[in-house]
Symmetry: C2
């Protein structure tokens, strides 16, 4: 390497004549980039390699780094997601594997590590800090500090993942402080929507150093001023770029980065990843080089990835060649000096290591069910009904009279009061949470899914107990996934064999199947833009106002289980 | 801490009403700073503590951090230097202990670690990479990769110190690459004066990430563009601030910091430390907050000191209160939340732990000498004479005829050709290097010193063998130090009992003694501004053009030992 830098021996590859984006100086220089043994060994006017590649007229940036992503949201395992992101110029992500951890604990995290090993893409992890997310639901695993300790030895585990339990931090919860202490010498990510003032200070005092939940400019400003790395999120469900971008200035740009948090496979295929965010940021007025800094040097420095995020001698040759900087159009991608994306297309990509062995756990561990498992006795009086808010993950609690027959609650398509169920699927406990939801608009059949944040029990909505039973049973049998049932028939399904969260298929196949179940839901009369995404958030008891877990209805404002019917 | 941040219990101390410099946002806000258990727990309009301190009208900055200093240059051990720097607002340094390592190897470094432990000041170290500096001199120790390995376990050792042997890096020297590999997961500091172009790239390819040797603006620019942390040096001998400051801009300021490298006790006492550099930078036009960033957040981020360098919740309460930001006048200093400097004066400061035991090694390990040890036979012909260049550490080689008597060379005050000797002092080998120097201007007597870069043998200059013998003998007996001798009498001395490099006295006493020996040298007729500093660089065989070690005269351009007299 040293000899190639001195030009005493030829470099392995030289990218010749490109416009190189320098994230240190904030300038663009026309220079050759010499690569040997996977590293950048020189930048200069006159390098030659065993292979010279003319990229005259093109731009070169460092490989993009996403500092906060939940891989499981893409429904792809790490290796499959890597393949999908590489064509968008991403060469590294820092992932919080808390979805799979909620299902299978440490073994799920180890699967994520193994599946992402030995691939031409860097997948770093943060140890999930909040598994389970609450005590109001049943998760597949509980991770205490002692469990997380063994993750510290993994070289790709960089620290403690988003500390979502900020009330717990503020109350000095012993378990939480133990986890924070354990990772005191590493990076600790935060998650504190709307936390401000003295509470924010208290949260930071614990050693937490980033946040990706700001949606308000003043909130983001306060967090930046208090030393947080403000991760500006632009994902599938949450989009904060427009609100927060005005905060980024030349003198403080190092305190920001762009992340995706949750990004669905369809979005990746249709709009892209960080390439899309950079493009949008430039369109909103950010200068191109600062935009690149926010997805390269800044996350690299924050996470202490000292040989990534820049194009300079001694750095890894993770490089993106662009046809256009303004349009951020990826032409080719080099990972550790190897061409992996050429002309926008992925070249040979190795399969992940452990997919096959991990998926043998199917079918799901659900206790024996019958249609009667979903019956709800009607005691008279009004019920607490979950009302969806279009395009939002918060719900409203409304009080309604429900129809009944023979003393049992009867779902009603007329008033759009359908039955919602959450079936515990980790321990075969037989626990089923039952409630009523308005907003799906199904006229017939049922939808069921093993993706239900954060514990990922099986959630189903339907017009009858029979339909719901058959949909849940189908999810169980395929080892998890998304199912649409109607008239005794499974009309569409997307198997998610890996923990009921991730598919073994390529992104292309997966997206086609996801479009299939979506269309099937529409065919049942569903009026929501994204039926399964809406369903997946109905079991999340930290988002107001009324949610359902396997333990029952949760009044989120009171943070307690409440009965379906009002006490008369 | 968390409870104090929330204001549920009072903080330990609250600094009320100060103008707080925010190195993240680049702004100044009037805020209370709440401190508990040594950490900053909150910034806000309305904190109260067990103790409230009104600092209305004053400024608060983070404690200053010097990213590159050789403690031994101050002739103070770490604990004494810490005391001297605290009053200037410095709360942390990153030191390369290569002077003491050249004398006593790992045990010297351990002394530095121990002496700086348990004091209210953070002394971090880099493992010396080049001990001995060359093969043309005899050092007290040789440190190979295996020796450095045990330092990696020390929590205050952050990486590998300045890699001075850049030719060795470029040639792929095995020993050097081994050291670099050993510290591949840590920070590796550089040292590469005038290295540019392909050679610079090659040097960087090895993983080296900083440099403090740029004296030229374009050189600094190139290094910054190539990803180096450019440490702008402003010390006693080298002053690069004026040349390099124009490089610092809002968009790239994170790539720079201010360091002192070598700083003498007198300079510390008279002008200060980083406070002086910041003040000078502001005078040269740098905005105050960026100047503060360069001595706080930037070195902290570069060295991965994640809870230092900023005023924010969760950071260490290392704080400087200033009477004036523009004049950077230090009023008080807090270290880990404790007031340590009040009204410009140091409060109680504990003594270092190991001073006493370490200094028992005296007297120096020198073989038996007599005045005859310094005799030089005169073979006739011209001699290679070292000619000092006023104010510089480079010398010229001039060819001169020398006087003689009875076949021996005779020093001559008339032509200012005095005798220069370097006596090996580590292994009692009896080796004495002999040469002739012009430029001191002594009319009588001799000066001798155990501070002689980089091997720190005893160096002496004098008008006669008797004078030189007595001066060297005095240095030996006091266990190292600086001595001025005349007419059979030691007229001034500064004992440096710690390895012959550092004093056990306070900075005040030390400076008085140093002024004493300087004055004594002037009294002998010395015409140099800093006689002992000039003497200390005459044994450094890496600085052109002619130098003297215990092994003889070194022609630095040829990098080889040459005889005193020209071959006729």
């Amino acid at each position: 390497m040293i000899l190639s830098a001195e030009r005493k021996i030829p470099a392995d590859i030289v990218l010749k004549g490109g416009k190189v984006v320098n994230v240190f100086s904030g300038q663009i220089h026309k220079k050759d980039v010499a690569i040997s043994a996977g590293k950048i060994v020189g930048l200069g006017p006159d390098y030659h390699g065993k292979k010279d590649i003319n990229i005259n007229g093109k731009w070169v940036t460092p490989g993009l780094i996403d500092g906060h992503i939940h891989i499981e949201s893409s429904m792809l395992p790490p290796s499959r997601l890597a393949a999908a992101l590489l064509v968008h110029g991403t060469t590294a992500v820092v992932a919080d594997p808390h979805e799979i951890a909620n299902v299978t604990g440490i073994s799920g995290i180890k699967f994520m590590l193994e599946d992402s090993d030995f691939i031409p893409f860097d997948t770093f992890f943060m140890a999930p800090s909040c598994v389970p997310a609450t005590t109001l639901e049943t998760a597949g695993a509980t991770l205490r500090a002692l469990d997380l300790a063994e993750l510290k030895d993994e070289t790709r585990v960089l620290g403690l993942a988003e500390m979502m339990n900020f009330p717990g931090v503020l109350m000095g919860d012993h378990d939480i402080l133990e986890k924070i202490l354990l990772f005191g010498d590493r990076i600790i990510d935060g998650h504190c929507p709307s936390l401000r003032g003295y509470d924010l200070q208290a949260y930071l005092t614990a050693g937490i150093r980033s946040d990706h939940e700001s949606s308000d400019r003043l909130e983001g400003l306060e967090k930046m001023e208090n030393g947080m790395m403000v991760m500006i999120r632009e994902g599938t469900s949450a989009k904060n770029l427009e609100a927060l971008l005005p905060l980024v200035k030349k003198g403080n740009a190092r305190r920001f980065c762009f992340v995706s948090d949750d990004l669905h496979a369809e979005d990746i295929q249709e709009r892209g990843h960080l390439d899309f965010v950079v493009k949008k940021a430039m369109r909103l007025g950010l200068d191109p080089i600062t935009a690149v800094q926010l997805v390269t040097l800044n996350p690299a420095e924050y996470f202490g990835l000292k040989d990534r995020g820049a194009i300079a001698p001694g750095y890894r040759a993770d490089l993106v060649v662009l046809d256009s900087l303004e349009k951020f159009k990826v032409n080719s991608v080099y990972k550790d000096g190897h061409l992996i994306v050429d002309n926008g297309a992925l070249l040979h990509f190795p399969a992940g290591q452990k997919e096959a062995s991990f998926i043998q756990s199917k079918p799901l561990n659900i206790a024996r069910l019958t249609p009667d498992s979903f019956r709800i006795p009607h005691p008279g009086g009004k019920a607490r009904v979950i009302e969806l808010m279009p395009g939002q993950i918060i719900t409203r609690m409304v009080h309604e009279s429900l129809k009944s027959v023979d003393g049992w609650v009867l779902p009603d398509t007329e008033s759009d009061t359908l039955k919602l169920c959450v079936v515990e699927r980790h321990h075969a406990s037989g626990r089923v949470g039952l409630g009523i939801v308005r907003g799906f608009g199904l006229r017939k059949g049922a939808m069921a899914s093993s993706v239900a944040h954060d514990s990922h029990n099986v959630i189903a909505v339907g017009v009858s107990d029979d339909d719901i039973f058959r949909a849940v049973e189908a999810v169980r049998l395929i080892g998890g996934g998304l199912v649409v049932e109607c008239d005794n028939e499974i009309i569409a399904q997307t198997p998610l064999e890996i923990g009921g969260l991730m598919s073994t298929q390529s992104i292309k196949t997966l997206v086609a199947r996801l479009q299939g179940v979506k269309k099937a839901a529409f065919d049942l009369g569903c009026v929501l833009e994204d039926p399964f995404m809406a369903l997946s958030f109905l079991a999340l008891p930290v988002i107001p106002e009324l949610k359902l877990t396997d333990r029952g209805l949760v009044d989120v404002n009171k943070f307690e289980i409440v009965p379906l019917f009002l006490e008369s």
